[in-house]
Symmetry: C2
Subunit: 204 residues, 2 copies
């Protein structure tokens, strides 16, 4: 495989997904850090050379750049046990990864960012007004995960897949956004299973 | 392939993506309709039997149910020319599909739904307050697409892929949400290329 470089902010769960995927697969990964709080992913150089969307993570593969965390995880994990061999299960894994980006991350990761990194006192009225809706949508996402995991060890099939990696990233730090893991015991037990996977690395 | 049934509301671009993918691949697709404006995807029966997330589309494959539009398109298109054969391009296609669900759909599709189907006068204050931010984010998504398509026929590689199908669905009706296609000429030319693909079907 070509040289792999992760353009990241280590506080971002989206970046951590890629680092965790590489670690579970024992793939070497160089890392370049940016501080999103200082706007380092919005500079003209970053927009031109790394990602015109102004966001991290970006996985650099040789001279090519791949934004979007779940797409980068897919690139790393092709032909590995982290992607199911069966056609429906493979699509079902993507289903949970799209769920993660649509229903989970915009609520659970955003509240963590606002409440833990920015601080509630520093939020604008527009952000503050969105907290109740994001709270409700985040709780709904966790409740859907709880129901799905009751009686199941992993999101899809009999083994850990990228669906688990993707959903783990912001779920395991959701309490920084004001969610309570004791309310979701099946989710909590699943988090422990992910953390026990061979090669697991913690978020920094 | 097992019997394929699309659970849909025909006004939804997310549902249309799946119908368009099936049409481009000449796959037979049965259809079951729901009216999302009447809450028909939130009934106890729907939540139990079709999708606990209360959303359409859902692609039914035999007795199994696959929510999330882009995951359903992936299921249909595996081993077809709509998914690139090269590893980086395959991940790059997924990159645009995740972009679609994160940066494009929540802004462009939501404004179409609010302004065209619900009607601005019927919106609550919470929705109305979000219009400027969704307008700006939707324009940013279209501008990124415009820049990417300058000098390119398709989002990834030399042929149409699921990235084009996915982004086409809500882009080609974005004017119903108050966006102006003449502001994005490369996007407009690309829309015409998608509509000229063999097997293309229009949204209803």
């Amino acid at each position: 495989m070509e040289q792999l470089t992760l353009h990241e902010d280590p506080r971002s769960g989206n970046c951590y997904k890629i680092r965790l995927t590489a670690a579970l697969l024992d793939l070497p990964l160089a890392r370049v850090g940016y501080d999103i709080m200082k706007g380092e992913t919005r500079t003209p150089e970053f927009l031109r050379d790394v990602n015109g969307n102004g966001r991290i993570p970006v996985l650099q593969v040789g001279e090519r750049f791949l934004p979007e965390s779940n797409a980068a995880c897919w690139y790393l994990a092709e032909d590995s046990p982290l992607i199911p061999a069966e056609r429906f299960e493979r699509a079902d894994m993507l289903r949970w990864m799209f769920f993660e980006q649509y229903n989970h991350e915009p609520n659970i990761a955003t509240l963590r960012f606002w409440l833990f990194f920015v601080g509630e006192a520093n939020l604008g009225a527009f952000q503050r007004d969105q907290i109740p809706a994001k709270r409700a949508a985040g709780e709904a996402a966790l409740a859907l995960m709880e129901g799905h995991l009751a009686g199941r060890d992993w999101f899809v099939g009999a083994n850990a897949t990228l669906a688990d990696v993707s959903l783990y990233a912001y779920t395991h730090v959701c309490e920084a956004g004001g969610f309570r893991l004791p309310d979701y015991p099946a989710v909590g037990a699943w988090l422990d299973r992910v953390a026990a996977l061979p090669g697991y690395v913690a978020m920094e």
